[in-house]
């Protein structure tokens, strides 16, 4: 059982400069794959420890094995061609192309192994995230499908197989990230259709994260979350994880009014600034959200991944987030002497 207002992360964790350099060294063929894997193993253990020390209820591997939100997946999908695999900076995007339809029965991408590793080093519930088919498709030059929608559906099938492997490995909370969706509001219905392909037959709790971009800690787009509706109501997901800390909480009423009655991942930490929110600020933000959503529907998380923040800032932000959440929990009704609780993952 998790406490009421469970705290979690969106996915990525601080990537220190030394790790950036080592990752770049790998993409410039200066260190071997096995050395990089060992480096990632160590970094993930440290990230888990940091999250636990901060008091995070649902932790992640920090996505530290990934070069960015796209290439880690595309490089593993059979049929996605990458002509130049050297990078001058690890975070750069590959130039990728699909010239033939993706094979239907490809081998797993290996994400389940990533999950197993994480599971091994923490007793806390683990969230495992991966980028959704809509966003992945936007970094592929499509020469195989007459319609881009068909490429998106094919990618969704690949991810569905991977989700099944993750569930089989013991994953109970999976999150689909769609960082590009806010830039293409007219395509939400298609994105939701693809999400439902990914989640089909995979019996876990599903989250969907939509933000306005966090590439190099900058928003890629601006706007309001009304573009998600009504299409997102058809998404077979249990949680919608959104960005509010930076943008403000005006959209909450609209989201509730437009019919979202499932769990909401409430962004309370701005990941695009190194200024550390105080616990009091976090408390105020949660209380503001409680005016619209009941406590048993809220999950507390940063706006997006913490990748671009220095480690000390990331730790301080998470600590403040947990402290602020605990302060709110104490004011919520519960049985005498008991912490208020909620089903895992809300």
């Amino acid at each position: 059982m998790l406490p009421l207002l469970p705290t979690t992360v969106v996915g990525s964790y601080s990537v220190p400069e030394w790790l950036e350099r080592l990752k770049t060294d790998y993409y410039r063929n200066r260190i071997s794959r096995s050395h990089l894997r060992e480096i990632h193993d160590m970094a993930i253990k440290a990230a888990l420890k940091d999250q636990e020390a901060a008091g995070i209820d649902i932790v992640s591997d920090g996505e530290l094995r990934r070069d960015n939100d796209i290439d880690y997946f595309l490089a593993r999908i059979p049929g996605v061609q990458i002509s130049v695999t050297v990078k001058s900076f690890y975070y750069d995007y590959y130039d990728t192309v699909v010239v033939d339809p993706l094979p239907a029965d490809a081998a797993p991408l290996g994400l389940a192994e990533d999950y197993r590793f994480t599971r091994q080093y923490t007793d806390r519930p683990v969230k495992f995230s991966f980028t959704g088919p809509f966003s992945l498709s936007h970094r592929i030059r499509n020469k195989a499908y007459a319609k881009s929608a068909d490429l998106i559906r094919a990618l969704a099938q690949v991810l569905n197989a991977e989700a099944r492997a993750l569930a089989q490995a013991g994953a109970t909370l999976l999150q689909i990230d769609e960082p590009f969706l806010a830039g293409y509001p007219e395509d939400v219905a298609l994105a939701v259709e693809a999400i439902n392909i990914v989640t089909k037959g995979v019996d876990v709790r599903w989250g969907l994260h939509v933000c306005y971009g966090n590439r190099y800690a900058r928003p890629s787009w601006e706007g309001h979350y009304d573009f998600l509706f009504p299409a997102v109501l058809d998404a077979n997901v249990d949680q919608l994880i959104l960005e509010f800390g930076r943008k403000g909480y005006e959209d909450l009423h609209m989201i509730q009014r437009l019919g979202w009655d499932r769990a909401l991942g409430l962004g309370v930490v701005d990941v695009k600034t190194e200024q550390i929110e105080s616990a009091e600020v976090i408390t105020q933000r949660i209380r503001k959200a409680l005016e619209t959503f009941p406590a048993d529907k809220l999950i507390i998380n940063p706006d997006c991944g913490l990748r671009h923040l220095p480690a000390d800032v990331a730790r301080a932000k998470l600590t403040a987030m947990v402290e602020g959440t605990i302060a709110v929990r104490r004011t919520l009704p519960a049985a005498p002497g008991q912490e208020p609780t909620v089903e895992q993952g809300a």
């Binding site: 001058s88 190099y216 900058r218 928003p219 787009w221 601006e222």
Partner: protein, 515 residues
């Protein structure tokens, strides 16, 4: 020594003196530099000295700025780490040398002096920490902290007095006699791109109501006027009335300059706001516009901001330290002008830099009977100002801070080859750049016209500053460094030679969000 900087080895008493002749372009043509005439007397003077010649390097530059901070020959000590293991730098190159001195020759001027005698005198004077033939204005400092930048600041603050004294406007000191910021073709190209962008955003219902343009360093406002006049015309042709929503923000650290600029753009007063700010920290005033600015325009500002230089010599990394001085003769002449002893001149200069010439004339009337006399003192001091240089080892790039949020590690890609090079860090420009780009709208652009080098190799073949432009300083800009920093911040940085005027050294830098 890396190609193509020409390197020869002069064998003297069985040892080698490494010679780095940088202005290779001056070796050919109708009046090629006489290398032997420049090098021979210097090497002879070195040979007559007791210095370990195997640890001496000779560098030849062509200092194109007629007014600059160098003597025809300079001696630059190359310091060693002082036996502190934790501060001992790890060489970046496998092959290292342990040079202890660099002798620099300005081959543009070397034909007019007795190089052997001059070099000999300098070699004898180097024995002490202080050269008694010089009056120093400061201790050894990183160049960006030198008093020369206070002179530079004073120039912009008291520009009107300087211009009165010289009888010419500062723009006339620029190559071509005016800023490229006023080039109408360049401005129209910029505006046309903006109008297209705004159309596309409007089509997606993503165009904000307020459309912000920022200019850093507005000068007399003529660029702003050119831009706004052209905008009105193009917007009228375009038919979308974006002018109604336009906010042009003029930024400068001089309230006086802003006032003049506001008068210049009086026709557009409803659309113009002005901000007093330091170009190296634009967010102190403009932080509220984060992600909202569509165009940041900067012309001939970066080259005038404080900079350090770093050097890679014989596998070791150094920061160049400088110490401003006047020759004793120059100090005596300036002192005579102001009824002061040479030793009093540094104190008067410090007072000048603190107060400015107008107040100096009041505060030290015994030395300066009028404001004009104080301005004359300023101009003479500036003209006579020189910099001694030395190389201080950098124990690690991470221990050197380029700008408040930029570590010296950013220099690594430019230095990791281990090849010998000396380059600008452009600390002020870097600080300005990294503090400006967060203001840009996701589709915004930073456009900068300035003296950018687009290849660090250019540092091996030419002198790139500092020079004196009228009363201000000019340094070329390390384009690859800014591009690397921009890239690490998620921006594509592109350099193109300024397309709208021939024969110019100006390069257009454009930075915009990647991906």
């Amino acid at each position: 020594m890396s190609a193509p900087a020409r390197t020869t080895q002069q064998h003297t008493r069985g040892v080698a003196v490494l010679v780095d002749f940088r202005p290779t372009g001056k070796l050919r043509g109708s009046k090629p530099v006489d290398v032997a005439a420049a090098l021979g007397p210097v090497v002879d003077a070195l040979a007559e000295d007791s210095v370990d010649l195997s640890r001496v390097r000779v560098v030849c530059d062509w200092v194109q700025y007629r007014s600059n901070f160098r003597e025809v020959v300079d001696i630059r000590p190359i310091l060693a780490a002082h036996g502190q293991p934790e501060l001992t730098p790890v060489p970046l190159a496998a092959v290292v040398t342990e040079d202890e001195m660099e002798v620099a020759i300005d081959v543009r001027r070397s034909g007019d002096v007795d190089l052997k005698q001059l070099t000999g005198e300098l070699m004898r004077a180097r024995c002490g920490e202080v050269d008694l033939s010089r009056v120093y204005l400061e201790p050894w400092l990183a160049t960006s902290a030198s008093v020369i930048w206070e002179f530079n600041t004073l120039y912009w603050k008291a520009l009107d007095l300087w211009e009165q004294a010289t009888g010419r406007r500062y723009e006339q000191a620029l190559p071509g006699g005016q800023s490229d910021a006023r080039n109408r073709d360049a401005v129209r190209e910029m505006i046309t791109g903006l109008l297209g962008l705004w159309d596309s955003l409007a089509a997606r219902n993503a165009l904000p109501e307020e459309l912000y343009i920022v200019e850093l360093g507005v000068g007399n406002g003529s660029q702003a006027k050119t831009w706004l006049d052209e905008f009105v015309e193009l917007d009228r042709e375009h038919g979308k009335d974006y002018y109604r929503r336009l906010h042009y923000l003029m930024c400068d650290y001089s309230p006086h300059v802003l006032e003049l600029a506001r008068a210049t753009v009086a026709d557009h007063a409803q659309h113009v706001s002005s901000f007093v700010l330091d170009a190296t920290q634009p967010r102190t005033a403009l932080g509220f516009l984060r992600y909202k600015i569509f165009l940041v325009y900067i012309s001939n500002v970066y080259d005038n901001l404080p900079t350090d230089e770093v050097a890679q010599i014989g596998g070791h990394t150094y920061i160049v330290q400088t110490r401003a001085y006047l020759t004793r003769d120059a100090a005596a002449e300036i002192g005579q002008l102001t009824s002061a002893q040479p030793e009093q001149v540094p104190g008067l200069i410090r007072k000048l830099l603190r107060l400015g010439p107008a107040l100096l004339a009041e505060a030290a009337s015994a030395h300066f009977p009028s404001v004009e006399a104080a301005v004359e003192f300023w101009r003479r001091s500036w003209d006579a100002l020189r910099l001694e240089e030395r190389y201080l080892p950098l124990a690690g790039l991470d221990l050197y801070q380029i700008a408040p949020t930029v570590s010296g590690e950013m220099l690594r890609p430019l230095l990791e080859s281990g090849a010998t090079i000396r380059m600008h860090v452009n600390n002020g420009a870097v600080a300005s750049f990294v503090d400006t780009i967060p203001l840009l709208h996701p589709y915004g652009r930073l456009i900068c016209h300035d003296l950018f080098l687009t290849d660090v190799h250019a540092y091996r073949t030419g002198f790139r500053g500092p020079g004196k432009y009228d009363g201000s300083i000019v340094n070329w800009l390390n384009g690859p460094l800014l591009a690397h920093i921009g890239r690490r911040k998620g921006f594509d940085v592109d350099y193109q030679r300024f397309a709208h005027r021939t024969g110019t050294n100006i390069v257009t830098m454009t930075a915009q969000v990647r991906d």
